[in-house]
């Protein structure tokens, strides 16, 4: 029972991180049809800001906010410098641009900071466990689930209540008509990138909290998982990204926990096999996006 609860907690907390990452991809994809493979490097930016802040003993809450803000600024900067000049390009060129941005950032981290992992030690009271009667649960996964829930709640409020949030949802359906309403395309796109960067920053904080270090390539694996998650969920669909993220995270942890020892080295094959089955069942994803007109 203890083991199962602990695994369930890990599954939901990993799923939550994937969900936030997949959401970051989906917010941008739904508006500009770009699969941003530089999303992982936004995480790395946030990770290094966290590293520097903790090195200089900045209080953790401020460090986390600074990391998230840095990722948002980095995302907006890549939009302005790399993606805006490519606005009228086809989706393939846009995707290649994102590979280029990703490669450039990785080299900058490797040469400018270090190719080796840097430790990001957490305050001791965050790395322990909490005891609920007979059950002991990890503090980090619990905090991670809490942060994910709060982020999803805040994002929903933003998308449903604010003009910019409504404009982003409208842009995903019909960007041209949104421009006819007088809402500036550049502003909506820049805001979408910044929002996507914030989501990457939050995921980075949770990711680093579980691993305890940052390195130049740390964004690669999570962005790949986020891509798989958003395909499972339905590319460009926000609720799909959340569903896909949780499905992938839960599948990974449960396979890890319950596969027989002999099969454990092939865990990823089992996970991807599960993804293939999901896609055979629902080829457009769990919650497909509406396909709108794009400008």
């Amino acid at each position: 029972m203890d083991f199962f609860l602990q695994q369930l907690l890990n599954a939901v907390s990993l799923g939550g991180i994937y969900a936030l990452l997949a959401l970051g991809l989906a917010v941008v994809f739904s508006i500009v049809a770009l699969i941003n493979f530089a999303h992982g490097e936004l995480m790395t930016v946030a990770g290094y800001v966290l590293f520097v802040c903790i090195l200089y003993a900045v209080p953790l809450p401020i460090a986390v906010v600074a990391a998230i803000a840095a990722a948002a600024v980095a995302a907006a900067a890549t939009e302005r410098l790399a993606f805006r000049p490519m606005r009228r390009a086809d989706p393939t060129s846009l995707m290649l641009t994102s590979f280029a941005v990703s490669a450039i950032l990785k080299v900058l981290f490797q040469n400018g900071i270090s190719a080796r992992p840097k430790p990001v030690p957490l305050p001791p009271d965050l790395s322990g466990t909490l005891t609920f009667g007979p059950v002991r649960l990890g503090t980090v996964p619990l905090a991670s689930i809490l942060v994910t829930c709060l982020s999803l709640f805040a994002l929903t409020l933003f998308l449903k209540r604010t003009v910019m949030g409504k404009a982003m949802r409208a842009a995903a359906e019909d960007f041209q008509v949104l421009r006819l309403m007088g809402i500036r395309a550049n502003r909506v796109i820049a805001a979408a990138f910044a929002l996507s960067g914030m989501l990457a920053g939050i995921s980075a904080a949770l990711w680093v909290a579980q691993r305890g270090s940052v390195d130049p390539l740390m964004g690669f694996v999570p962005v790949l998982k986020a891509f798989v998650a958003s395909v499972i969920g339905g590319l460009g669909s926000l609720s799909g990204a959340v569903a896909g993220g949780f499905a992938l995270g839960i599948a990974e942890v449960l396979f890890q926990a319950y596969l027989p020892d002999a099969a454990l080295p092939f865990r990823d094959a089992f996970v991807l096999g599960f993804v293939v089955l999901l896609l055979l069942w629902r080829p457009d994803g769990l919650i497909p996006a509406r396909t709108g007109r794009r400008s």
């Binding site: 003009v163 409504k166 949802r169 409208a170 041209q176 309403m181 007088g182 500036r184």
Partner: protein, 233 residues
């Protein structure tokens, strides 16, 4: 109010509109007629900035050509596009809100919303529903109301009666006449030539992207070309 001279719209190698010129007088309903592919929608898209064009497009003497759509609607020209194109997953309320969001704030935005809900009582009943769940006629009302939220001086309407039941078509044309009495100038593109010419002050007929006929609504309704081509006897 609107003057167009030497307007050309090209999509790659295809010329949709070539050297078109016409005017829309202030306070009038002007209708553009023509078969499918005659260049009517391209003309409206060029005026509203959606389609790249060459030539002169002037609103009260000020050049609009080359401005992006975001700026043109700020100058007081709103397009209600073909096929309604409401935002289906957003509520009626949010569709209206976005229509007015950059043009009015706070109380003024609320006042304009209220005015549109008075004009279209059906939208008040559907206020919190998703726009995609409305009927075709209701979506058309919403599309017009959303365009009016920017308080335009010139309203461009692209095929507002397309695909609507006859009773609803009557409502739509009644509404367009009503807008003129409130001082809004209207440029209307229509397939339904008969009904359009009844309410129009002026009309122009396009063929393959060029002007072939113009006149008052009544003159056009009586012209042999129009009678043969559009009114079917």
């Amino acid at each position: 109010m609107l003057e167009i001279e030497g307007l050309s719209v090209r999509y790659g190698a295809v010329e949709a509109v070539g050297n078109l010129g016409f005017t829309v007088p202030k306070g009038s309903i002007t209708v553009l007629l023509g078969a499918n592919g005659a260049g009517k929608s391209s003309t409206l898209n060029a005026i509203s900035g959606l389609a790249p064009s060459r030539g002169r497009i002037a609103l009260n003497g000020a050049e609009l050509g080359g401005l992006p759509p975001e700026e043109i609607v700020r100058r007081g020209v709103a397009l209600c596009p073909e096929g309604r194109r409401v935002f289906p997953s957003l509520s009626v309320a949010d569709n209206l809100h976005l229509g007015g969001a950059v043009h009015a704030k706070g109380e003024e935005l609320a006042r304009r919303t209220e005015a549109e809900l008075d004009r279209f009582p059906i939208l008040r009943e559907r206020y919190h529903q998703k726009a995609g769940l409305l009927s075709g006629g209701e979506q058309q009302m919403l599309a017009v109301a959303r365009a009016l939220m920017s308080a335009p001086r010139l309203l461009l309407l692209d095929e507002p009666s397309l695909g609507l039941a006859p009773k609803v078509v009557e409502q739509v044309f009644g509404l367009i006449s009503g807008l003129r009495t409130q001082g809004i100038t209207i440029l209307l593109v229509e397939q339904n030539a008969e009904r359009a010419l009844e309410i129009a002050d002026h009309g122009y007929v396009l063929q393959s992207g060029a002007l072939v006929l113009s006149g008052s609504g009544r003159e056009l309704a009586e012209s042999p070309l129009i009678r043969d081509a559009y009114l079917a006897g």
